[in-house]
Structures are given as C-alpha cells and as structure tokens.
C-alpha cells in the first residue's frame, strides 16, 4: 500500500534548498496572483505538458501566501523561487506572515478525508470538502492543499515557522518504470 501522504514540517528538508534558483518577489496583491504565477511558469520548458495545471497549482500557493500568510497586506512580500526542467518542477513560496499554525490539524483533517474518500462514503465526505478556519471567507475554496498534495508528487514541505512551502513535481517518464538511457 502507498504510504500515507502528508505535509512535512522540517527546516532541514532538502526541498527547502533554493540556491541558484530563479527568484521573484511580489507584493501581496490578490488581483495579480495569476499574473505572478504566469511569470513563474514562463520559466518552465515548453516541453512540459499541462502547463495550465502547473500554473494553477503555483497560483494556489501564491494565493495562500497572499491571503492567509500576508493577510492581503500590500506591504508584505511573497517570495518565490523556482527551478524547472523537462523532468521536474520545484517551487518554493515564502510569505511574511506568522505561519500556517493549523498545519498539524490540516494533516489530521486530510487523513480523515482520505479515509472517507477511500470508502466512497459520500454522506460523511461532505464534512471534508473544505478545510476552514475562523479566518476563511466565503470565496476560499478550502480545498487547494488537498489537490496540492496529490499534484506535487515529489513532496510538500513547510519550514518550522510554517510560512514557507516547498513543493516538487516529477513529470512523465518515471511512471513507466523504464529508464531510457539515451
């Protein structure tokens, strides 16, 4: 059985390394989140398929940083580091907020959510559609990190302060279990 996926909290995790990466800094302006995300995605090689999906997943991280991390404070910055190849995407997003305090709670919530989904218990499932805190508003989907944990198959890691998230995606070939040494 596949090991249970969860968000890792670890200052020393290799995914938090960002030396020599492409770097951009943005003001916390929710209106420009998708534009910022597109600026990052432009650095990805054109061979990467589903660039729409990659942009969407990066956009969610920046949106969380702007809205939940920096609380839409325009004076607070969101910093993004990225590294792409045809085989991978590695993105780090840091905000100036006090950190995602409910991260452990989120992991527990996600575990229960997965149990419900595995048993296709639709009644119970509805409780787990959205992770909400007292700070959520009605336009928060509350579901972005569930998809993130599935999409970023190389891991989702926070630093100990929980204001910096690092994610890694493997593209393509390794799924087939066959190394093409050319």
């Amino acid at each position: 059985m596949e090991t249970e996926k969860e968000i890792i909290i670890d200052d020393n995790n290799a995914l938090l390394q960002r030396e020599g990466y492409f770097f951009k800094e943005f003001p916390s302006d929710i209106r420009q989140v998708r534009f910022f995300s597109m600026l990052i995605v432009q650095k990805a090689p054109p061979e990467i398929k589903e660039i729409n999906l990659l942009e969407q997943q990066i956009s969610e991280l920046i949106k969380n940083a702007v809205r939940h991390g920096n609380k839409n404070d325009i004076n607070k910055k969101v910093r993004v580091w990225a590294d792409f190849s045809i085989d991978h995407a590695h993105v780090i997003v840091e905000d100036e907020g006090k950190g995602f305090q409910k991260l452990e709670e989120w992991n527990e919530f996600n575990k229960k959510r997965n149990e419900c989904f595995a048993s296709q218990n639709f009644e119970e499932m509805e409780k787990y559609f959205a992770f909400r805190t007292e700070e959520s508003n009605e336009n928060d989907g509350g579901n972005a990190l569930f998809a993130a944990l599935e999409y970023w198959d190389g891991g989702v890691v926070f630093n100990n302060k929980k204001n910096c998230i690092a994610v890694y995606k493997n593209f393509g070939k390794k799924k087939y279990g066959l190394e093409l040494n050319r």
Partner: protein, 112 residues
C-alpha cells in the same frame, strides 16, 4: 468568465465560458442562487468552454451542487475535460460530482 443560459424543454443549460478562478467563479454561485429562487429545478452545467479551474472554482461547484441537492432539485455536469478534469480528480471529487459524458445524456437523465 461569461455565463450563457439556454433552455431545452424543462432543462436549463448553464454554459460557462472562460476561467473559473478566484476572480470570477462566484458569479456562477450567484446565478444559480437566482435560478433556484425562481423555482428552476433541472440544471445542466456545461463546462465545454472552461479550460481552467482553481480551488475557488471547485469550491463553487461543491456549493452549487449541495445547494441544488438541498433544494431537492437536480444537477448534471457535462463536458468536463482537460485540466478541469485533472483538478477535480486531484481533489478526489470525480465520483462525487454528477458528471455525465454528454449534454444529450444529461438532458435525458434529468427528464426521465
């Protein structure tokens, strides 16, 4: 995002055109609420012209489906494709949403 409404016998087809994202997805929520208030009971949501959805858009889909269900009305979602289909799958909601392959089937199921 643009929304077009069409009526086919007793079924209302809500066609969404463009991105269902944090900037626009809420519009769909408002329109469906108004339609429910008018007593409309059979809905098809056509996503053929939606190539992008984010967590806010997913949130809106969840919201409208649960609102329509609570009102004891019916919804089918059609033409889910590309990255929209992927995001729904990543969120593990593929089997929750009433997704059917075509508009024709959706209408047939709603009218049966």
């Amino acid at each position: 995002m643009e929304i077009k409404l069409k009526k086919y016998s007793s079924v209302y087809i809500v066609e969404v055109i463009g991105d269902m994202d944090l900037y626009s997805a809420f519009e769909l929520k408002n329109i469906v609420a108004k339609m429910l208030a008018k007593g409309i009971g059979l809905f098809v949501l056509d996503l053929a012209k939606v190539d992008y959805i984010d967590s806010s858009g997913i949130g809106v889909l969840i919201h409208i489906y649960s609102t329509i269900k609570k009102a004891q009305k019916k919804l089918k979602i059609v033409n889910v494709h590309g990255s929209v289909e992927k995001v729904i799958r990543l969120t593990k909601l593929t089997h929750y949403f009433p997704i059917v392959p075509s508009l024709r089937e959706a209408v047939a199921q709603l009218e049966s």
